[in-house]
């Protein structure tokens, strides 16, 4: 297992480098430039602009800029250029807008995003799996049909619109009608007297609505896949022999059938996580969730190149690790799989 993980991580290196090249080229091939955008003030002279550019290393050829971004330039000891340690040594550079290390900004927001996506993943799997199994058990029945219709429907509803409708009904209208309303965004209630301390109920009521909406996609996908898999597995011989031995139906489904049916469900963990990273960008924006997604969207609007690039790198690393995790789970669930 350890050897497999190491090999996979080594294999991820070319992919990772590819990602850095691709994103760097895309970001820098865009028309316009962040310095120009920051210095639209007519009193700033062209010379100042040039100085800012050269201080940030932006007057260098693109290849040099890329290498500096990747490995840094602090060994050159050039007093005219801002020293950087480079991405590979954990330095994402400084935000052009907020003038502070991007790593620091990410650190502040990473927790919020992880909390949201992790909750959505847990909800997605812990609801999707039982729904799928139960739908397969009652194949053709009411529950089965309703859950299938709902899974198609929830795949078709744009997540941001579902959020808007939920906010409109449960936050805005409920408050108008004097019913207990949910908060319309944020991570906790801000109070006039500064920090109020940690309040679990308050945190949960802020977390659950966006997490549930983010979880609709995984619930739909997981339950559908689980249903097909269980239906396939229960036709096999070993299930028939389990029946012949007189085991309880419940034991057959939840112990014997589910274990094998879970295998493909584990493999979609990677794609599910990718989808959640994307979904989180939108969900965080709608629900004003102070996470990386919103940071990234705002950085986009402000052309804050270092933050944008950091967003890409973190997203990509998340996806690579997610895929690795799902392959490892695959081997964990299915002993026949040898990870070599």
């Amino acid at each position: 297992m350890t050897r497999y993980v190491i090999r996979r991580l080594l294999q991820a290196i070319p992919t990772f480098l590819g990602i850095t090249v691709l994103t760097f080229v895309i970001v820098h091939s865009a028309p316009g430039d962040p310095i120009l955008q920051q210095t639209w003030n007519p009193r700033i002279s062209g010379a100042t602009r040039e100085e800012m550019r050269s201080r940030l290393g932006m007057d260098q050829p693109l290849v040099v800029q890329y290498v500096v971004w990747l490995v840094g330039n602090d060994w050159q000891n050039n007093p005219d250029v801002l020293p950087r340690r480079g991405l590979l040594r954990g330095d994402f550079g400084s935000s052009l807008i907020e003038k502070r290390p991007v790593g620091e900004m990410i650190g502040e927001r990473l927790g919020a995003t992880l909390l949201l996506t992790a909750t959505a993943t847990v909800i997605g799997y812990s609801l999707g799996i039982p729904i799928g199994v139960y739908a397969a058990v009652t194949q053709g029945g009411l529950f089965d049909n309703v859950s299938r219709v709902l899974s198609v429907l929830f795949n078709a509803i744009p997540g941001f619109w579902l959020s808007l409708i939920v906010i409109l009904v449960f936050a805005v209208k409920f408050r108008e009608w004097g019913l207990p309303a949910i908060p319309s965004g944020g991570m906790y209630t801000l109070s006039a007297g500064g920090e109020r301390g940690f309040d679990l109920c308050d945190r949960l009521i802020h977390l659950l609505p966006p997490a549930l909406i983010l979880a609709t996609a995984p619930i739909a996908t997981v339950s559908r896949l689980m249903r097909t898999q269980v239906l396939e597995v229960i036709r096999q011989d070993y299930i028939r022999s389990a029946r012949a031995r007189g085991l309880y139906e419940r034991t057959i489904y939840f112990r014997h059938a589910m274990r094998n049916a879970l295998i493909p469900v584990a493999t979609i963990l990677g794609p599910t996580l990718t989808g959640l990273v994307g979904g989180a960008v939108i969900t965080e924006t709608v629900w004003s969730w102070p996470g990386l997604g919103r940071l990234f969207v705002n950085a986009n609007f402000q052309r804050d190149y270092p933050v944008i690039l950091a967003g890409f790198v973190i997203g990509a690393v998340g996806v690579i690790l997610g895929n690795l995790l799902s392959d490892m789970m695959y081997a964990f669930i299915d002993p026949r799989v040898r990870l070599e």
Binding site: L22, I26, P31, V152, F160, T274, V277, N300, V319, I320
Partner: protein
């Protein structure tokens, strides 16, 4: 099937021969080809037909009738009238007006034209690219395959929406360029599926046989590979169109997709968050249109899969 078996029992007498001929005629009629039987299966699938009908009506109304209809009602999708901003449904404006007094119904119809157009054309690009790249990778294997798969893995490791966000922000796309961007960035899944299919078909005996008698590569692809791959692509086409419409709407909602005053269902929701109290009707309708359209496309996608995948037929 029955006809095929009985056609073998050809008799010697004239009457038997006549009957055999009769049977042979029936045989051509009753054992339909792949596409024909798929079409039959589709026709019996009422849900898919209904979804298709809804989608067709939606497309006709948005693409063909939006012009005449708005002319008849004397509303212009881009004409503003600040004095009636946020007004609810009225005689002149059946679905109310938006934040600057534009008629919502007219904008929904014109927006549908753009949203549907982006969906269909981007899906066309995705299908074409996916088919071309997937076939190339599957057919040539080895180095070509490795290079293509590396590229696909790299592209797939970047969350798609992030890429699209930055591209649409930096290049400020029109509806046309946005279509091209979406198309260029999302063909990877299709090409993976196509590659797998090509590799599978490539190993079949009849392909080996064709190879042995010296069929040129181009003819091999056209005659033997593509007919096996195209159904797979068609199965996914409806789903892809739906996915593109969702992505476009999300982007436009963030204010990064198609820019106003051109309406799309997504950008009509762009500022919706600030209108919860002033104009809830502005939040409801565009999303409803997106949901209905994408739902129809997904249902059609399921129907296509059931009809075109012989192993799925009747399985449900």
């Amino acid at each position: 099937m029955e006809a095929m078996i009985s056609s073998d029992s050809g008799g010697s007498s004239a009457r038997d021969r006549a009957r055999a001929r009769q049977v042979r005629i029936d045989l051509t009629r009753e054992v339909p080809g792949y596409w024909e039987s798929a079409f039959h299966a589709l026709r019996r699938d009422r849900l898919t037909i209904a979804a298709f009908a809804v989608l067709l009506v939606m497309a006709i109304v948005c693409v063909v009738l939006s012009g005449p209809l708005t002319n008849a009602l004397q509303v212009d999708p881009n004409a503003t009238d600040p004095f009636i901003a946020f007004e609810g449904p009225s005689r002149d404006h059946p679905l109310g007006v938006d934040q600057v007094g534009r008629d919502q119904l007219a904008r929904l119809l014109y927006g549908g034209r753009v949203s549907l157009g982006i969906g269909f054309f981007a899906a066309f690009i995705i299908m074409t690219l996916g088919l071309a790249v997937g076939t190339t990778a599957g057919l040539y294997g080895r180095f070509v395959d490795d290079a293509i798969m590396w590229f696909i893995n790299t592209l797939n490791s970047i969350p798609f929406i992030l890429l699209l966000l930055i591209v649409s922000l930096l290049f400020r796309p029109s509806a046309f360029t946005l279509t091209v961007f979406i198309g260029l960035l999302s063909w990877t899944d299709i090409s993976r599926i196509v590659r797998g299919q090509v590799m599978q078909v490539k190993e079949m005996e009849y392909v080996t046989a064709a190879h042995a008698i010296g069929v040129p590569t181009f003819k091999m692809v056209a005659r033997h590979l593509l007919p096996n791959v195209v159904p797979v692509v068609i199965i996914f086409s409806a789903q892809v169109i739906g996915g593109v419409i969702l992505v476009e709407s999300a982007l436009s909602f963030l204010g990064l997709g198609v820019q106003p005053p051109t309406a799309t269902w997504g950008n009509m929701l762009n500022k919706a968050q600030s209108y919860f109290t002033l104009g809830p009707h502005l939040v409801v309708w565009p999303g409803l249109f997106i949901t209905i359209t994408v739902l129809c496309l997904y249902v059609i996608g399921d129907g296509l899969r059931d009809a075109l995948d012989p192993t799925m037929r009747g399985a449900r």
